[in-house]
């Protein structure tokens, strides 16, 4: 048993960094039992841990396998803590991102990492999955009243579908309502400019920085 709340938060954070899913679950249960504020446990425990994992990823100490297992631990803890969030914490309007891999491609690890890191940074993420037609991005962004549309691909054949998303937004005069960001192997900042996207990122941590910038929150 942890002596105080700070120790428990640290232990939660360490469980995420250490890829210990069972331990994260157990510590989250302990937080619930001890009636520790769920929001604080998430922020200072799980989210803190995922942030540290992201830093290890950036410094190439962690790679995709480790980051995925860290996220498994984070989500295991979140599943337990989320139902205990106070209503005002749970219903707070958060910056919303619609994300997916564009039509014609099923490589989704990069997209999944961006989703994980965005969720760990407090953004609402609607994950459409992979092989998603341009119209579905637009429709979902409208119906969900999203702030950002995030498009991913690893294939050059599907890059045109990214441009099509922007064009569809323009045609229906709703371009200004959304920020469109792009990423993936063949994508470059020049390509992002050419299709009139609002931003490009070359890694999951940088995608988070980009969304934070677009959302106007401090990095």
């Amino acid at each position: 048993m942890s002596e105080n709340e700070n120790e428990l938060f640290k232990a939660l954070s360490d469980a995420v960094v250490g890829m210990e899913e069972d331990l994260a679950r157990q510590l989250a249960l302990e937080a619930v039992e001890r009636k520790i504020d769920a929001y604080t446990a998430i922020e200072r425990g799980l989210v803190d841990g995922m942030g540290r994992a992201g830093e290890l990823f950036e410094s190439e100490e962690y790679f995709i396998p480790e980051l995925l297992l860290c996220s498994d631990a984070m989500y295991a803890g979140l599943d337990i803590l989320r139902p205990h969030l106070k209503i005002e914490d749970a219903s707070q309007r958060r910056f919303k991102v619609v994300i997916g891999v564009v039509e014609g491609d099923t490589h989704d690890i990069g997209k999944n990492l961006v989703k994980i890191m965005l969720e760990a940074s407090g953004f609402d993420v609607i994950d459409l999955g992979r092989d998603i037609p341009p119209q579905q991005f637009v429709e979902t962004a409208v119906s969900e009243n999203a702030d950002v549309i995030a498009l991913s691909t690893l294939m050059t054949t599907t890059m045109d579908a990214m441009a099509e998303v922007v064009e569809r937004l323009q045609k229906t005069n709703i371009r200004e309502r959304f920020k469109v960001i792009v990423g993936g192997g063949p994508i470059s900042p020049a390509f992002a400019d050419r299709i009139h996207a609002d931003g490009y990122a070359n890694s999951a941590p940088n995608a988070v920085k980009l969304v934070k910038q677009l959302a106007g929150v401090p990095a």
Partner: protein, 357 residues
């Protein structure tokens, strides 16, 4: 079109002996772009070895590059072992579903039989036909996907990378199966007078760590390379994305040539492994070859040559990865033209002046 004085076979032979050549070897890695040369749809390649061969031979004749590579996508071996591949009407195929979704199903898989399973027999037919048509003048290679990458297509990449940490024995079991399939296919390729050309995309440190590559990627690649060397053939190994921290390990597989993606730097590669392996690359397939102008291609080629022409084991001007289907012909021509213009021997000072002004 081409005004070369040597055939690709003559050029590689002379270059390998450090004798005079007419120009550096040059390989824009043409895959499904070959469909555009013969006015076919990409999906037409499915199950049609004759069309693959016709297109690849036509593309070789059209552009005059130095290696023909029979390749449509990375999934052929995984498909032959049960993965589901989606074939869009006129674009490169992609993985729809892996063959299995958990470690306890690995036992249900069998190594592919290259003469029977999936599209492998058609690819072998394409190799035979290409060799018959132009094999005397140009090397015909058969694309061979590395065991770790095939394993990722068999069970799904996320499942595989999680298993690396949770159940490494299962990953080895799957890689071993994929290796057995790859060895059988390699033998069939070699029996046709072709050389397997290895790609192990998922071994990139964009995905896994150098340590994980050492455990799950490298040993299987080494066994494949050893097998191919047993036939007296040289081996090119391509890994996409970031590879800087695994170049030594890639060289340790025994591969004779490393094909390097544009995410890596040729100058650094030359310093690190240039005394052990030939280098190939690394003009950006997307930013330069697909989206750039012929002038940008020319600049990129000159930069690459400037960096790597004096690599101790030699250098092949190439794209960093397979070219996108819609790569403009004029950009492929520009790559070859630039290499011809640079000629041989290479005068580095002239190159520097050309692309810094």
């Amino acid at each position: 079109m081409s005004c070369d004085l040597m055939t690709p076979v003559e050029r590689f032979a002379a270059y390998g002996r450090s004798e005079a050549v007419d120009r550096l070897p040059c390989v824009p890695i043409v895959g499904n772009t070959a469909a555009r040369v013969v006015g076919a749809k990409v999906s037409g390649f499915r199950g049609n070895g004759k069309l693959i061969a016709d297109a690849q031979v036509a593309a070789y004749r059209r552009f005059g590059y130095d290696v023909i590579r029979i390749f449509t996508d990375l999934y052929t071996q995984a498909e032959a072992m049960g993965a589901t591949v989606h074939y869009p009407d006129d674009e490169t195929a992609y993985l729809a579903e892996p063959a299995i979704d958990s470690a306890d199903q690995i036992g249900s898989l069998e190594p592919a039989n290259p003469y029977k399973d999936g599209n492998l027999p058609h690819h072998l037919e394409a190799m035979s036909r290409a060799v018959e048509a132009v094999g005397k003048e140009v090397a015909v290679t058969g694309a061979l996907t590395g065991p770790f990458t095939t394993a990722s297509f068999l069970i799904g990449t996320e499942t595989l990378v999680r298993l690396m940490l949770k159940n490494p024995a299962a990953v080895h079991q799957l890689c071993e199966l994929a290796l057995q399939g790859a060895l059988a296919y390699a033998k069939a390729i070699l029996d046709r007078g072709c050389t397997p050309s290895l790609t192990d995309a998922m071994c990139s440190t964009t995905v896994i760590s150098p340590k994980q590559f050492k455990e799950f990627g490298q040993p299987y690649l080494k066994r494949l390379v050893d097998f191919i060397h047993g036939y007296g053939r040289g081996v090119t190994l391509h890994i996409c994305g970031k590879t800087r921290s695994i170049w030594e390990q890639m060289a340790d597989t025994g591969a004779d040539c490393l094909s390097i993606d544009n995410a890596a730097d040729l100058l650094e590669a030359k310093v690190k492994v240039g005394t052990r392996v030939r280098l190939m690359g690394n003009v950006s397939p997307s930013e330069i070859m697909l989206q750039g102008t012929p002038l940008q291609v020319r600049d990129a080629v000159r930069q690459c040559v400037w960096k790597a022409h004096d690599n101790p084991k030699g250098y092949i001007v190439a794209s960093g990865c397979s070219l996108p289907v819609e790569t403009p012909f004029q950009n492929i021509d520009a790559m070859l033209e630039s290499v011809r213009e640079i000629g041989w021997p290479v005068h580095a000072e002239k190159l520097e002046a050309a692309w810094t002004v």
